[in-house]
Amino acid sequence: MNFMSLAEKLVLFKCYLLLFVCFMATANADEQSKRWSIKGFGSFGVTGSDTDRIGFLRNRTQTKAVDNNWGVTTDSRLGVQLDVDISDSLHTTVQWIARDHAGDFFEQNLEWAFLSWRPRDDINIRIGRLGLDTFLLSDYREVGYAYVWMRPPHEFYANIPLSHFDGIDFAQKFVIDDSFLTLKLQAGYSYSQMHTGLGLFSIKAPIAGLNIVYETGDWRLRAGYSYMHFLSDVPSQELVDAVNNPALAPVYPGVSDLSAALTLEGTDLHFMSVGGAYDDGIWLGQAEASYMETDNAYVVDAASAYFSFGRRISEFTVYGLYGLSFSFNDRVNIPAPSVLAPPLLGLQKGLNQVLNFNSIDQQSFSLGVRWDFYTNIAFKAQWTHFWFGDRGAALWTQDEPGNIPSQVNLWSLGVDFVF
């Protein structure tokens, strides 16, 4: 039997509370102005690669990877969204997505449940569970129908474990002639679960962010900054206890210094990004760049970027996509213990694995086609060729760091739809 911990119960309770508030607000709506809709989106895709040494994940919150055994969970999902206008200025939105996500299936997949208040046409204040708005695709990365690729660029989007938080955001839109400048401030608390080499990691972190979007004609440009402070730790307790064991000091000097490197709690993460998208109806282009900085050794500093071009030819869109991501950590070489006993060598190996597990050194080029063959359904096919540097496959599942291929091909076919 798996009993829920108090913390898990609290999380679920908060979840029900969010939904309850949204539904109560809706139930009290003035019948006259009430307008509601249920809409949805989904994707069904099959994905496979030409290696069995590392497994492909769409992002680090997924639990099931695909390799040369093709799978459907990577690029398949189904989302439903309920929207209700309570009055002219009040609105609720609830969105839930069935997808492969680490941790609690119901809670982690409740993407949004918020109450939105628009006191004026140019101001929007939202409270509840909200999307974390830190990049161009942040709020709709699961909605395949809204973009041309099979999935958001892997180098850029796979490393971001958070997609929602509970809190508040404030957006103000400025109209400048025929252009729009939107400033958005976000603050709240995130509870997001992801898999790590050590097991399930439940991220608990207050977060804050600032986002600026400028839309003019065929262009959409944005810049953003997000901050988070970790209040929880990766499941490294066993290792921390092991290196701190006083009996170890004489036979393995200096090993206790590593406990700080295994601790995430109390550290900060800063995330900066800029991006732009162009679409004139025929040609489309999009590029983003980001830099992630942390003050812990476990989540490493990393830079990522991608750019993509596409051309529409009647109902077909052909595109190319290049992405790269690399981390700035040096290889950690754990010195050998002074007594070469098997348990100590085992600990050395374990520490080496854990501390060298998070390196990213990856580039990829993709070619693909989107075919809008029927109203609200698009077919997609994409080929991606990945290159890896030494140890650089942290965005993939790996049995042993270091045992990674230098190149991998990945193919995928799928349909995206909205209803």
């Binding site: 809709s37 809409k39 989106f41 709709y140 109209v175 839309e215």
Partner: protein
Amino acid sequence: MMKTIIKYLFAFLLPIFAVRAEIVVITNIDNPVTVMTKTEIQSIFMGRKRAFANGLKAVAFDFSKEREPFYSLLTHRSIQQIDAYWARIIFSGQGMPPVKLPSAQLILSAVQKNQGAIAYINRRSIGDSRVRVLLSLE
């Protein structure tokens, strides 16, 4: 001489052909807004603006049968591109698309009922209905 006659004949006939494809953007007769640019109309139908220049809340309606020519004239984009755009707006919680109405009668009555209504229709379908034409798209 013959050439001139043909030229005049065409000059008279061309508008007749043009009328067939003419889509007009209409609003309620009591809406103080009498004229709008293509870009302003685009902003409202694409959900970027929710009000007219005078502050009146805008309620846009889509006419299912004329969506394709309307968006092609207004934005130079196909209906698939418009739907993909709305997928992004809807599922990023930024707004809802115009309500789709299936007939010209429903479009006209919706526009006559609501002072802030804005819709589009083939000019021929207006008949003697009291609506204000804001812009003609050809």
